[in-house]
Amino acid sequence: MSINAGNLDKNEYFYGHKACAGCGGSLAVRAALKVLGERSVAVLPAGCMSAVGFNFPQLCFSNNAIISMFAGTASMLTGAEAGLRRKGYKDFHAVGFAGDGGTADIGIQALSGAIDRDDDIIYICYDNEAYMNTGIQKSGLTPYGARTTTTPAGENIRGNIRPKKNMFEIAAAHDIPYAATATVGYITDFMNKVEKASKIRGTKYIHVIAPCPTGWGVPVNDTIDVAREIVDCGLWYLAEYENGKFTLNRDPKEFTDAEKYLLRQGRFRHLTKEDIDVIITSRDKKWEKIRKEWK
């Protein structure tokens, strides 16, 4: 039976933290732990979720949890999983929650190592598309055009000039047992992917879009809406990689207005018509490939 609002675990495992109003990342952690339950060990690197959840003596996880070194989410997960197994524990989940910088930049080596070893862990990247905890600096997953504090938008350069690193396909290229993309906007889809991952042996990678109202420049009550719209307008997609095959989970007949998605956010408000055309052209090219190869 798939997970839905009705049968979801009523217990809270990430509670009383100091995340900002409308935080998409904390929602991803909260929802995933409701799926994985109390026999989970959560590993979180330096970043938003560890900064808001682990301030002694106010410790916010009611399951076992630990902060890892920034580059060490995956390697600490490996050690924790092996250690717990050696300790004689069975039926537990070792789950990591790292941000986009912690995953695609500083943590990519350790993540690649863990997938290569096929360690029995779940790695969840909550992607808010910049280093939000330190004040909105560009990461390898900041999208093309976005204004951050290290990619200012001015006369000469209009924000970040590079597209997002494709972490989902990088994970898949390791021939990982399971990888998926998700968004907190379609939270049931995300939770069911976590549930699916929890039943597969080996390394699992889930990449979930988790808007940061502060960094994105949207009202705090728009998190879910903007996290849906990113999929609906085709700038993100819901897909899975399993048994060596890609599957597209959602194939909208018609995209909603990408320009509207972009311009509702402060980080994209400076974009010109030409910039938006670049984004839409790249989106269409990607979807042409996806629709051809992943169906």
Partner: protein, 386 residues
């Protein structure tokens, strides 16, 4: 059972006898033999452990910390650049009170690149909150491997342990080594028990943040653990002697220091040649002595004062330099002289960098300079042209 083993092999035998649950390591010369031997032991079933092939030293220590947080015995090994790459993890392991044991093959640090032995790698990381021991021979390496787990994991200590072996001179030099039985090792080393671990019955949040109000309390406790480590080291060696019959002398290993006028203080393998030269000088009527420091942390403040109280002059001979000042061992020793009220003049000789040989003549020369009066920092063998 006796075997002809290199320092690396002997240390691996000690680790096997300690039965770690998780070993995570990345290869680097001259540490490689340790991880190769441990891999062989896992393969042939003489060691029941998870050997995790991590993709870097940073991950090796991160993985070991994760396993230690699960409450199991952990081991890693590295050297030089690898140790420096782990540096962030060193303070992480000690701050979290995770008693990871690591063997470090002392090797020069780049640049210029150099694979041979000196002690700049570990001494540069003296302040990372690890117990630091330095072995002199292969037997001591094996014995230290066993004792390191006892000391690190002791509930009064809960502090990671770095056992240092001089690169090549010790790691790759063969000696006759007595390997204790597994039964004896079991008798010596109790299983690792801790509350500092994940627990599904009583879940824990670990490796957290602590602000200005509480941070210093954690640091104070970390510091106090080193005071208790002094007693635990003594206790471990006493127990070791009872079970295995081999005696060790705590934080230092003194040779003829009781009545010595001139003493060389050093670490690791250099001590052997110093003793030979001291014997030679003694036959000429010169009262020479040697003090080998076995533990740089906790530092043998009291022991140094005790052994140097009758000396006229002393030199620290070491394979490292803290640029802009002096050798790290000298700096530490000078502070112990001051606090211990030692009036002997203390000078500093830097040698063996990048694996350069320290000869008996070099040591004779140091003793001669001590007799004639010397001070400051001198690089052994440096010519006027340099």
């Amino acid at each position: 059972m006796n075997k002809y083993l290199s320092g690396d092999e002997a240390f691996a035998e000690g680790v096997r006898l300690a039965c770690p649950d998780v070993i995570s390591a990345y290869p680097i010369t001259p540490q490689t033999v340790v991880v190769e031997k441990l891999s062989e032991m896992v393969e042939n079933g003489s060691l029941d452990a998870e050997f995790i092939h991590v993709e870097s030293e940073h991950s090796a220590l991160s993985c070991a910390i994760g396993a230690s947080a699960a409450g199991v015995r952990t081991f890693t090994a590295t050297s030089s650049q690898g140790l420096l790459y782990m540096a962030e993890g060193l303070v992480y392991a000690s701050g979290g009170r995770f008693p990871v044991v690591m063997m470090n093959a002392n090797r020069a640090t780049a640049l210029p690149w150099n694979i041979y032995g000196d002690q700049r790698d570990s001494l540069a990381l003296l302040d990372t909150g690890w117990i630091q021991a330095y072995a002199e021979n292969a037997q001591e390496a094996l014995d230290l491997a066993l004792m390191s787990f006892y000391i690190a994991e002791h509930k009064d200590v809960s502090t990671p342990f770095m056992a240092n072996l001089d690169g090549f001179v010790l790691t790759h030099t063969y000696e006759n080594v007595e390997i204790p039985s597994q039964e004896q090792a079991k008798e010596f080393l109790p299983p690792y028990e801790t509350e500092n671990r994940f627990d599904f019955e009583h879940p824990k949040n670990m490796a957290f943040s602590a602000g200005p109000e509480t941070n210093y309390i954690f640091k104070y406790k970390e510091h106090k653990a080193f005071d208790r480590a002094v007693n635990v080291i003594e206790q471990a060696e006493k127990r070791f002697a009872e079970i295995f019959g081999r005696k060790y002398s705590g934080l230092v290993d003194a040779y003829l220091t009781d009545d010595a006028d001139f003493v060389i203080i050093t670490l690791g393998t250099a001590a052997g040649l110093c003793r030979t030269v001291a014997d030679e000088l003694r036959s000429d009527g010169i009262k020479a002595g040697v003090l080998r420091i076995r533990y740089m942390r906790p530092f043998p403040v009291k022991e140094i004062a005790e052994h140097l109280k009758n000396a006229k002059a002393a030199a620290v001979l070491e394979k490292d330099i803290s640029f802009g000042y002096a050798g790290t061992v000298y700096i530490n020793t000078a502070a112990a002289f001051q606090s211990g009220g030692i009036t002997a003049k203390l000078s500093n000789f830097i040698g063996g960098l990048g694996g350069r040989d320290i000869s008996a003549d070099d040591i004779r020369d140091i003793y001669k300079k001590l007799q004639n009066g010397t001070e400051g920092v001198e690089f052994i063998g440096i010519g006027g042209d340099n």
